[in-house]
């Protein structure tokens, strides 16, 4: 059996769903970052697969951008996470509600 575009897209969808569930259900900030990474990478898989399918490099270039931005975002996010942990000694999402309207 050849592995075609559909397989990649199905994989991407499955990963995206996993990431989405993680974003909604997880209460740990670190786990939330991991879930976000899964979301971004699922999209990357779809980009690269479609790019390869059409023979157009734009999608693959886009994936690189996503990876770069995701890396910097995690760097900033982890920095904030460490500061938060030093101050409050936990990284539970439910305690972060100073923006309550």
């Amino acid at each position: 059996m050849d592995i075609g575009l559909n397989h990649y897209l199905v994989l991407s969808t499955i990963l995206f769903s996993i990431g989405l569930v993680g974003v909604m259900r997880r209460k740990n900030l670190l786990m939330l970052f991991l879930a976000t990474e899964i979301l971004l990478n699922s999209v990357n898989i779809a980009f690269v697969a479609i790019s390869h399918y059409y023979g157009d490099l734009t999608g693959q270039m886009f994936a690189f951008f996503v990876i770069a931005i995701a890396a910097s975002e995690v760097a900033v996010g982890l920095g904030l996470l460490i500061v938060w942990h030093k101050r409050h000694n936990n990284i539970d999402l439910d305690t972060m509600s100073s923006m309550r309207g």
């Binding site: 989405l20 974003v23 909604m24 997880r26 209460k27 939330l32 999402l93 439910d94 972060m96 509600s97 100073s98 923006m99 309550r100 309207g101």
Partner: protein
């Protein structure tokens, strides 16, 4: 010459702005002196312009800048100094300067001294715009400016209920008339395509008579409001609520003369429609006798003088309506001098009497107020038209004009009014200055006004005496623009009979007033005497019940209607719908504020929900875009186009 024109026009504005700087501050003498000096500068510039026009006869015309330019419409800020406007400028600036000097003394103890001068100079500036503009649009700006400033000055003591009421009445009455004026201006523009006086008047003879008649009528409605002609006259007497210098200014120089000026300025129009002219003359004669009759019994010093102004305005309109424009302008000028003098004198009396206005409570003031007594007596003689004072020349000319034009009814009405005028003027003088000192009962200690106020008034005194001698030079000058009709009674005998007859009538009316009111046993009327019980007296003291009729027939129904609109339409429909929309937003916000729990996890869940919604919409629209025909079929099946 242009520099003098600009100086004359803009120095009152400068003075007004200067006083405005200190408007909210406590009294500063300089805020009164600077506007007065600037007005003096304006007066000197006007004199230079007058000398220029007298010597060369050339009209000074400038176009300062373009105001409006759109398509065929072109309205510049243009100003013209010709024989008519220079006469008005002289009257306005001279009387205003005197009134300003006087007001420095009169408003001495008022805490809004600075604000008063800001308004007063702005008033003069508006009037100068009105008389100097070379087109109807500029005239209208001045017209409205005068209305606004009169509102601010009549209601100057705004903490008095009656003052604000009078101010609003004056403003609203004028607004009603201004609507007519605007319609007149629109008619002129739509028929001649221009608002410049010269071009518009040149185009008039080619128009048909009906259009011209409507133009004349609507412009005259505007004039009726400003010059307080019947039935828009009630505001003038109520305007006495303002400080006395304002009354002097309104009655002598600015505001009420504007209507007469408009009719004189539009003389090419009114020459073409003699039927409207006759109506104006008849209304003028009617107002003359109507106002004089109300002045006969009134017990408010300032209102008596106000009714006399109304009556004299009637004379001016009678003259203008009969085509004797130069006579009307001459009477306007002469009247300005002695009427301002009369009002300023009345202001002195008011100050002396602690703001008491009832002349029955005064009496015998000639001992303590010698200067004021002389000035007011001279002004009253001039008003009564006794030779050789100013009123004799101007008022007799009006009578002659009516007689020569064979309008004998108008003539006899005006003649009879001349007798009434003499009577009520000297009734006032006799009650205030002669007889016994009745004010002692009320514990008042009168004192003469400041010296400089009396000195400031003296130019008016001089002019009230000699203004008649300007008649011939004035006639030579002004007939360059106005129809030069000399009014000579053909038979010499008739002429002398008329003149001496008028003099005798006025003189006997004066003697009668003295005999009746200069006695020593005058009592303050309390409604018990036989005269006060008569119907005529009640009719006159209640101003023919006209204010009452207006109150009952116009104001009350209007108030009821306004109340209905307020309670039923405004509150129940407009307010309710606006409030309803606001409340809807408010309750939606209340209901959805739980979303903003501040919990990151909840927010993320909402984000995912939003994503799902947007995605499904994208899918639906993508589907719809790829199957447009099926969608159309589906929609038409549902009854949608």
């Amino acid at each position: 010459m242009e520099i003098f024109l600009y100086t004359a026009l803009f120095s009152p504005l400068l003075g007004s702005l200067f006083a405005t700087l200190f408007a909210a501050k406590p009294k500063l003498l300089i805020a009164g002196i600077v506007p007065t000096l600037l007005l003096g500068v304006s007066f000197i510039s006007s004199s230079v312009l007058l000398a220029h026009i007298l010597s060369t006869g050339q009209v000074v015309h400038v176009e300062m800048m373009t105001w409006m330019e759109a398509g065929d419409l072109y309205i510049p800020f243009g100003f013209v100094v010709d024989q008519i406007s220079v006469t008005m400028m002289m009257v306005v600036t001279l009387v205003s300067t005197v009134v300003h000097i006087y007001a420095i003394g009169y408003m001495d103890h008022d805490k809004s001294f600075n604000r008063f001068f800001a308004w007063l100079s702005a008033f003069v500036f508006s009037m100068l715009i009105l008389v100097m503009s070379d087109n109807f649009a500029g005239l209208f700006i001045g017209w409205e400016g005068v209305g606004l400033c009169s509102w601010g000055l009549i209601g100057f003591w705004y903490y008095k209920e009656s003052a604000t009421w009078a101010a609003n009445e004056a403003f609203i009455m004028n607004r009603i008339a201004d609507l007519g004026m605007l319609v007149g201006i629109f008619l002129i523009y739509s028929n001649t395509g221009t608002l410049q006086y010269t071009e518009a008047f040149a185009a008039l003879p080619s128009l048909d008579n009906e259009t011209l008649t409507w133009m004349g009528i609507f412009l005259f409605i505007g004039a009726m409001g400003k010059s307080a002609q019947f039935p828009l006259h009630t505001w003038l007497a109520d305007a006495m609520e303002g400080p006395t210098p304002v009354s002097a200014l309104i009655h002598a120089a600015t505001m009420v003369t504007a209507g007469v000026y408009l009719v004189i300025r539009a003389n090419p129009l009114y020459d073409l429609i003699p039927q409207v002219g006759l109506f104006i003359a008849s209304l003028g004669a009617f107002v003359a006798i109507f106002a004089a009759s109300m002045a006969l019994v009134n017990r408010d010093m300032k209102k008596i003088i106000a009714y006399s102004t109304l009556s004299q305005l009637g004379y001016m309109f009678a003259a203008a309506g009969l085509g004797a424009y130069w006579v009307a302008l001459f009477h306007l000028m002469a009247h300005a001098f002695f009427k301002a003098l009369l009002f300023l004198g009345a202001g002195n009396v008011m100050h002396a009497m602690d703001n008491e206005l009832d002349p029955f409570k005064m009496g015998g003031l000639k001992k303590t107020m010698r200067g004021t007594f002389i000035m007011m007596t001279v002004a009253s003689i001039a008003l009564a038209g006794i030779f050789p004072l100013a009123g004799f020349f101007s008022k007799d000319l009006i009578l002659e004009a009516a007689f020569v034009n064979h309008h004998y009814i108008i003539y006899s009405v005006l003649l009879f009014t001349a007798g009434l005028t003499a009577f009520y003027s000297f009734r006032l003088i006799a009650l205030i200055f002669h007889g016994e000192q009745r004010y002692k009962i009320f514990g008042i200690h009168p004192h003469e006004a400041y010296k400089f106020m009396l000195v400031g008034m003296s130019p008016l005194l001089l002019l009230a005496i000699i203004a008649g001698s300007f008649k011939m030079p004035y006639y030579e000058m002004v007939t360059a623009l106005l129809p030069a009709t000399e009014y000579h009674v053909h038979s010499v005998a008739v002429y002398w009979a008329m003149t001496i007859g008028t003099q005798l009538l006025a003189a006997s009316a004066i003697l009668f007033a003295y005999k009746k009111y200069a006695r020593n046993n005058i009592k303050v009327p309390d409604g018990s005497s036989a005269v006060e019980q008569t119907f005529v007296y009640k009719l006159l003291i209640n101003q023919y019940y006209i204010p009452l009729i207006y109150e009952e027939c116009l104001i009350k129904p209007y108030r009821t209607l306004s109340r209905v609109f307020w309670k039923e339409i405004d509150q129940k429909i407009i307010d309710a719908s606006v409030d309803g929309i606001a409340n809807r937003f408010y309750s939606t916000g209340e209901a959805t504020r739980d979303m903003q729990s501040g919990n990151l996890s909840t927010m993320l869940k909402w984000m995912v929900a939003g994503l799902v919604v947007l995605l499904s919409l994208a899918v639906v629209f993508a589907f719809a875009a790829s199957h447009p025909d099926d969608i159309k079929l589906l929609l038409s099946g549902l009854g949608v186009q």
